[in-house]
Point group: D3
Chain length 247, copies 6
């Protein structure tokens, strides 16, 4: 039995609220258990310098936590004057994941900025960010379609992300909360598509290692969790879900 | 008649939600019209270097906006690697205002960190931050009382803040939304106590000036607005309101 | 009686020396008591990016203190690698104040850079900077007229600035020296025009508050001080004074 | 057939030169094909602040490239004034990997600094860094044993790292050179121990995805490569190899 | 004949004003032709970390230019967020030069901070800084003697500095003004003691070289100039001059 | 007799290895005793902003040390986020020295980047950098000739650099190793051409001074050392040596 009474293959409660704030083209508040992330998608009418004059778009992500999203208050990265290695890793991961299922040629020379701001953290903030950001991005692209700026949805497939891990006594578990994460021997983030293909796999044994057999069990748990998360994304998107992957 | 149908001495709709996130000692979401600010108060068991060994506490504030709190997306200050002059002005103002009504000797060598994070902006974010932060701070100090850490509420008086200004055709108005603020000739932020004393007065004629008579009208409007704002603070605080200013 | 023998409504000795250094278009050394500030005005033949292609000019100010302008040596901001919040507040204030009385359309796509460098500090450095910078700016614009670059003086009115405050035993006083400033309950900076209109009003109760009645007395003192300061500006400007506000 | 004539499961030529420079406790030049990395291990007699007073040691890694290690010259990170996200990711990865096989309690309050400086790059610099750094670290710890500072080798197992990927026409391949890496659909870095346990698994589909079956083939290739790399490490370490994992 | 009518071995007009500002322990305004530098010496009751617990003192120098000390306005180093290579070179040079003639053991664990702020530049600002800073430092140490903090003057000898160079048509010249400096083939800064010993010699052929014979002529010119500069230092110091080098 | 058995006018062993790494246009590993520096020359098809549209080229140098090039590990400048004053001085010196013997008009609007990376330090790293960088630069320019990009070698003369100094008991010595350098009273870096003209002369008495007679002896030693160093450069360059200085 896990701390919060879940079985080893059970996700926490999920809630995806759309149109959370009024300015962004796509705005989502995703809650996975006590982890809450505002995911905003903004369309900018230009691309970064290294992408110019290629007729293609770009997707860039930024990630941040409110100082008191966590149990202990953290110093703001703006006050420190630099972004931490952890933050950079996460924002590179979010951007890469979303780009893997978007046809950048179809969005023209535009950037879709993804801002993931964690207002409350309880483990799994990066995977919640990806899962929520996917929804915000789809809404933002739909707005471009409605405005006649692009013709069809440039997203090929759904993606969602979750964490799996090996816990001291409970073995392999799905969707770790902070308490579980801080004690786990092995921590793995998995990003998969609705077609059950991997987009990204990051498994780490912090002061520990893991076997091939453990890896197989972890990937089965991730598969189950991601299938459920994609159902929640579809529900949140309503009719927009049908545009994704359309020929 | 103003853009949103208000009279010149009318505040926007106000909502103060307490216990907004779970980790901070005091957590508030304040909405003033479409301006929404998360105000978190955190207690840290030490003071900044310049305050050490004086047996007194400190109140420090930080302010930030989500990149897409505004109509156009702003670059994060953490990405730019420095905090803007505007942000610094605002966080210095919030800290100074709150310190003016707290007996720092009563909180011991502790810092009360105030984090104001604007998730949606429509004018008046600094005054909303002060009004909301006051409530979060009172809740945080009350928690210290409940835990037996301090004996009595160290807050002497209520304070709240609002903006007043001179608009092109409408003259003096109370609580400017973004559209009004961007067109105003004169912009003034007023912070007052429940005893109708001034804590801070910042009036600016951007490419314009203002007369003594206009100043008087602006201060009357501010007085009316702040009286109402303090009523909302009291309601949000419930029983805690009675601890403030107690002998 | 005040520390230095002044009455409560008396300014310190004022001296404004023009043509202080040879390179700037306008160069002034202003002394107000022991506060000495070099105010240089430089004309640059371009505007900042956000002002381009509007056919208008800009006025930008920077403020700094020599490390040993004060009783204790301060670390240089260039060594610290960043400008403090206090410095940013002051330079934004100086720029805003000067822009309020200049017709930016008349100076073309040029920037008037104002550099205020405090070589000796004894309170009131920001108000002395504004008062001195006004003179340096007028001289610089006059040079543009002499060179045939612009046709008429773009300054509409005189402005000057002073500080007023509430002192522990003496009550309301004008033009605080450092010793008075460090003990004052209330500190207010006032910037006014020769027409007795306000440009900026910044009153702060540091761990204190102030009443409407006190505000009225402070504004009367400021009015008297600024009237005298403008007389000194006129004397320093000689014939140039008559160009200001000319139709 | 691959560009350089290798079969799909063939590593490039490997050379590990020990005692490369004279100052470090452990100094190695590792060459894997045309990729050359200087891996230095330095012992510092203190630990970072967050590890103090726990009686344990720490392993920290830094990674850098000479500006012209690559075909196009890169701007130095010291000139840019900040370390890139990519560099941070790599140095966090190297440190985490090495810590996973070291008993930090046995090294006392010391830091083993690992510096990986790429002098020539041709793909796989991060995996070469880990493989070489392991050897440098073992030599440095052996020096501590020789000096009587610690009693036994704190390393429990060998680890090495390699890259595998999916290439456009050739399918799954082992140890990608730069040309192969830049064209690969899927890129995976694998760190394994001599006991065939995983330490870290990072698989990324850049604008592509990969199936469970592909994952299995990639892991088999990695297993073969890492087994060979560990043989090279043993040869380079000579007698020191027998101390690793001793009870 | 030189631009300003001087002979090749003639210094510009020199003026050294002491007690220029009121706060520093030693404060000097040195004018060499149109080059004007405020040189302040401040005593701090501690030494930098690398000098602690050695019972010795330290002399540290900082150098800066007002933005409009030059014909074209320069951007402040505090705004740029970093100190230029040129500034660093100069402040290291000033500190090293002054330390060469001071017995650091005699000043105890104190730092003598030297601040050289150029308010008007016309060539030779670094040599004027050294020459003026020497005087400010002697006055500051004398104040420590007067206060009974140290027993005797810790300065062993006088030093002063000047520039010499090779000009296109005029050959070797002494004390180059800005116009001469910008055209010179060879530029040399010489720091010498009253005993005619060298403290520092920095000769540079910018896109040119110089012969042994030219070097000899340049050193003779420097010798003559420095002898005169030391006379001016003595005059400025009055009675304090006799304490320097006393047994 | 010196520590390592050399006579006072004897250089350490010198080895210049060309084509050290494969990517740069010119790549050299220079060893002078135990000092080892990788000197890479890279051609970039543009010039820095201040050189644009003049039809001329530029030579820019950067210098760095591996963290453990020295006996104690140094913190990376990229981690500190800024380049030290010492590094800036050295890279400015290397660039200036090389530019003094190159006809920048002949290389077109190109930058020759010189990267000097010290992998092992034992004194004299800046002079070894210059001596090695000259060779790398000549090879890089020769490659431009081979590719038909430029017509003739733009280098007018050979230059090399060495250090000389005054040691406590041994008097004037040539080519100081780290141990000698750290004890020397006087330290002088000399850069000379094959025509025995000076390019740069930097003599410093660290807490000491030196006489005119000592200067003469030091310059004789430098002359002897540089003559030998240029012989080594010629040998390393092979046939390319004859292109230098050709009409």
């Amino acid at each position: 039995m896990r701390t919060d009474g879940r079985t080893s293959d059970q996700l926490r409660n999920i809630h995806i609220e759309t149109d959370y704030t009024k300015h962004p083209e796509g705005s989502v508040l995703i809650s996975i258990g006590d982890t809450k992330v505002i995911c905003n998608a903004s369309i900018e009418e230009r691309v970064p310098p290294f992408m110019r004059n290629q007729g293609k778009g770009w997707i860039a992500a930024e990630y941040s936590m409110l100082p008191r999203a966590t149990e202990q208050r953290n110093i703001r990265e703006s006050s420190k004057g630099k972004v931490s290695g952890r933050t950079m890793e996460i924002q590179r991961l979010i951007g890469r994941a979303l780009r893997s299922v978007v046809d950048l040629n179809q969005i023209g020379e535009r950037t879709c900025w993804i801002d993931c701001d964690v207002i409350q953290a309880d483990g799994g903030t990066r995977t919640a960010s990806i899962t929520g950001a996917f929804v915000a991005m789809a809404i933002a692209f739909n707005r471009l379609i409605e405005r006649g700026v692009i013709k069809k949805m440039p997203i090929r497939e759904f993606i969602a992300a979750t964490s799996v891990g090996v816990a001291p006594e409970k073995g392999e578990i799905l969707d770790l909360c902070y308490l579980e994460d801080s004690k786990a021997h092995v921590d793995m983030n998995v990003i998969m598509t609705s077609e059950k293909e991997f987009v990204e796999l990051q498994g780490t044994g912090e002061e520990a290692t893991f076997s091939y057999k453990q890896l197989q069990t972890l990937l089965e748990l991730a598969d189950k969790g991601i299938t459920e998360l994609i159902e929640h994304q579809k529900e949140a998107l309503g009719d927009i879900q049908h545009l994704i992957g359309e020929k």
